[in-house]
Amino acid sequence: MSTQYLRPSSLRHRETHYCPGCGHGILHRIVSEVIDELDIRRTTAAVAPVGCAVVAYNYWNFDCSEAAHGRALAVATGIKRVSPDLCVFTYQGDGDLASIGLAETVHAANRGERLTCIFVNNACYGMTGGQMAPTSLIGQKTATTPCGRTPDTGEGWPLKISDLLAQLPGVCFVARCALSSPKEIQDTARQIKTAFQHQLDKRGFSLVEVLSPCPTIWQKNPVEAMAWIDTEMKKVFPPGILKTP
């Protein structure tokens, strides 16, 4: 036994507003750990999304801006272009990134902006009460797909945005991870660190998709929610590195 596990200094000592078992708390901590490890807390600017993580800046101990729903990567582009020495990342949910902000996402990636995007995929709109997200699974019951998402009735298929983005030449790194076990949480931290490192090395756009539990909307207890990621979400969104330089 040689490792201690201590709260990272990039995470403020503040209780979160998240539901019990929510993935945001875990992911906020992972991001904070990576920023501590890379020693970039004083040269980082984050862009928070609209959604449950809208007040992520209350928990992080570094500079942060809000953005209108879906516009995080446009805001991040503006910050990075005028302050290229800052490490700039967005933290966005599936609705924010893959629905209302799809144009901003695709074009920031296609311009090869030297940004890192942490994409939280929980297959639903959490904050507004569990509506269908672009990443909702086929058959998944949501507030707006009460009979389960059915492509045949025009509700579409789960949008694999990471796979799409990996095709673009401006994108240098895409990985998909999960928060469903300690081992995978450690792997998520590794991938996020790699993504940040690519930005620091000026390689281009990097994105890490994180399959994250939303026990409240999924109507499962936190342990069952973790299991649902493994048994259902991973079938549609298999973890792995989709693109690397």
């Binding site: 040689s2 490792t3 596990y5 201590l6 709260r7 078992g21 993935g23 875990i26 076990s181 300690p182």
Partner: protein, 78 residues
């Protein structure tokens, strides 16, 4: 050997740490914390192996895993 520190007042009782602890060192409390939830606490009958799983899965970051000084390790063994 390692020792777990839990900020029990911050714990929301999600029980992920209890589920993932490989040595059943964590259990749910019998009384409520100031939030009114049953919180995670350590079981004195088992020993922490310092794997950090509880820290990793805790959404509130209210668990820390500290290394024990050699003197403390001895005490734990007795």
């Amino acid at each position: 050997m390692a020792k777990i520190k839990i900020n029990t007042d911050q714990c929301k009782g999600c029980r992920l740490c209890i589920h993932f602890c490989p040595v059943h060192h964590l259990r749910i409390s019998e009384e409520m914390n100031n939030k009114g939830v049953l919180y995670a606490c350590t079981d004195p009958h088992t020993r922490c192996i310092g794997c950090g799983y509880c820290y990793l899965v805790c959404p509130e970051s209210c668990i820390e895993v500290h290394l024990l000084e050699p003197s403390e390790t001895k005490k734990t063994h007795t």
